[in-house]
Every structure is written in C-alpha cells, then in structure tokens.
C-alpha cells in the first residue's frame, strides 16, 4: 500500500486506487548514437485506444520540427493532418491535405536550443483496432525555449480501416539522445 505523501491542505482524501485500464505497452529511449526513427511493433489489439507520451529532440540545426508517424509500414499517400498553433505572437491554423505520406502528430526541439530543452507530445490514437473506420489521432504538443516557442493542437487521419499493429515515429532529421517514447493502451 503506497503511503499518502506530503499533502498540505485543509482536507484531503488520498484514496489509493489501482487501475489496470491504462497500461504501459512499451517504451523506447534513444541512445548516444541517435536514431532515424522509433517503431512500436506487434501492438496487441486488446485495447480500445492508444496513447503515446513523448519527449523528443532532434540533431538537425533547427529550433523545432515536426514529429510524424506512419502506421503498419504504410508509406503511401494515405495521411492528412490539420493543426492550430500559437507562436506567442500569432495563432495560425493550417493543414496538410491531399496525399501525405506521414501524419503530423507532435513536435521536437532542435539542436539550436539549449541541451536540456525537449519537445513534448501527448498523442491519442483513438479506436485503433476498429476495422469499421479510418484511424484518427489527436495531439497536444510543443516546444518552449524562454523567449520563443510553439504550442500545437494537431489532428490527423490515416485513410485505412485496418487495425493498427505498428507505429513508426519519424523526425525530419534524426532523434537525439534521451528522446523517449512511451506507448500506452487504454481499455474501453
């Protein structure tokens, strides 16, 4: 039984509740050599939704760049994305329509930023095993670097009804060391 730790307030409940409806499936952390991609394979179809929680940095000489994905090794033009983002001075909406070969799902910091700054992304892949529909994703992501940065709401569509069994995450350059991607399953 976990203790109730260090709660300062006029009242607290602190009930310990253990749940198995949200489970960790796999985690990948990039080593010193970097990585051109990160892939989760053999994803079980026993959940209702998936969530990826990521911190990511790339080796490219940029402040930040897109984090994209492909499902089931599909490199065809079967993806579309829409986004709303803020730069600190402007709010902008946009889309990648037509036949895109990846879905935009997150944001990574780049090598131009201080070493401790990573982009973060929380990506929800909804009804991933439902073969009656295309797979839709939504995400909240961004990078802040104290004086500039970007925050994004993203949504994307994979125009395929197949159950998702693999996810490949792709940078525009290469993932840097300490980038970490955690895949979770959520039962309905």
């Amino acid at each position: 039984m976990s203790p109730i730790l260090g709660i300062i307030a006029s009242a607290n409940q602190g009930q310990f509740i253990s749940t198995t409806s949200y489970e960790s499936i796999a985690t990948t952390t990039v080593g010193a050599g970097g990585a051109s991609s990160v892939e989760f394979t053999s994803i079980p179809s026993t959940y209702t939704h998936l969530q990826i929680r990521a911190i990511s940095r790339v080796t490219g000489a940029t402040a930040n760049e897109n984090l994209t994905l492909q499902f089931n090794s599909d490199t065809g033009g079967n993806y579309n994305s829409h986004y709303l983002y803020g730069t600190g001075s402007a709010a902008v909406g946009g889309a990648e329509i037509g036949s895109q070969t990846t879905a935009i799902v997150g944001r990574s910091s780049g090598a131009n930023l201080a070493s401790g700054i990573f982009g973060v992304s929380v990506i929800d892949i909804l009804d991933y095993a439902n073969t009656n529909k295309f797979t839709a994703n939504r995400s909240l992501c961004g990078v802040d670097q104290n004086g500039s940065g970007i925050i994004l709401f993203e949504s994307s569509l994979w125009r395929n009804t197949a159950a998702v069994t693999s996810i490949k995450l792709l940078p525009e350059s290469n993932f840097a060391q300490y980038s970490s991607f955690a895949l979770y399953g959520i039962k309905g």
Partner: protein, 168 residues
C-alpha cells in the same frame, strides 16, 4: 511497484485555503498528470491566473507559450523569464458552481537529463487554451504549489488530484 496510472494524492477544500501543495512526490513514475479545478475568493467575475511553482523555486526560471480561443477572439501569448507558470482559475463573482479546469502534464519529471516541460490545457467558462511551459531546471520535481496571485484564497470546493504515470 506502482500501477501504470494511479492517483498519488487528492486535495478537496472544505474551507478556504491560501495554497494547495503536494510535497515529497515519489520519484517512481515517468510523468505526472494533475487535474486542478480552481476558483479564487477574488470577488470579481471572470478568469484569473494561478501561480504554479515547482520545487518551491521562486526564481525567474519559468516561461511559456500558449494559444487560446474565446467567443470573441483567438490568439497566442508568451511569458519569458517568469517567476511562476500561470494556470487559470475562476473568480468568485462568477456564477456559483463554475470552476476553471486545468489538465497539466509534467513530462519526465524526474529525468535529470532534461529541463522540465509542462504541457497543459485550460478550460474556463470564457475561453479554452493549450499551453506549454518550460522550467529551466534538470532537478527532479518533488513538490508542486498552487497559489492565488493576489494572495487571496482558494474557495471551498476547489479540488486538485495528482496522478503518476509509469512507462514500461
């Protein structure tokens, strides 16, 4: 060993309080997730900021970028070299029962190789926003404090729950 996603602690105020804090946060998770439903004793109506500090650090080590939409406008904002991360609350002149909701992710909170990034959504009765904040410290997060910016109180009924999320 902790479960994958579990509550660490919950605070629900039964009387007004000047701050809500969590301390001695266990370092056994990967991310923290906090849901904070907040209303200030400020007698005005509308929204107000909330001061979030990590590890009691009151230095100008925080910054953020946000995007918002309301019934009348959409826009983006930034804070640089700030002494807090600002969340949102509802002020007490607003209709009863209305509390601003903040859903806050503190990613890789115990990772000594990274600065700490806070990714969150705010939903109030007058606007919605997505925000990303940077705490320029590689120290593990061991405490979180929420205070009202005018040194007023959080009202009865404010509730904050802290969850731990454990990656494989």
């Amino acid at each position: 060993m902790p479960a994958t996603y579990e509550p660490i602690a919950t605070t629900t105020l039964t009387s007004p309080a000047a701050s809500i804090s969590f301390s001695s946060i266990p370092q056994t998770y990967t991310d923290l997730f906090m849901v904070a439903n907040l209303r200030s004793s400020d007698p005005r109506s509308g929204g107000q900021s909330v001061n979030l500090r990590l590890n009691g650090d009151s230095g100008t080590n925080y910054s953020k970028t946000g995007v918002y939409g309301s019934s009348t406008s959409v826009g983006s904002f930034r804070q640089t070299n700030a002494g807090v991360i600002e969340l949102s609350c509802t002020m007490n002149g607003t209709a009863a029962g209305v509390f601003a909701q903040n859903r806050v992710n503190i990613m890789n909170y115990s990772n000594a190789n990274v600065f700490k990034t806070v990714l969150y959504r705010v939903d109030t009765e007058i606007y919605a926003s997505g925000e990303i904040a940077l705490y320029r410290s590689t120290s593990a997060i061991t405490s979180i404090t929420l205070t009202e910016p005018s040194s007023l109180n959080w009202v009865t009924g404010c509730s904050v729950t802290l969850y731990g999320i454990k990656a494989a």
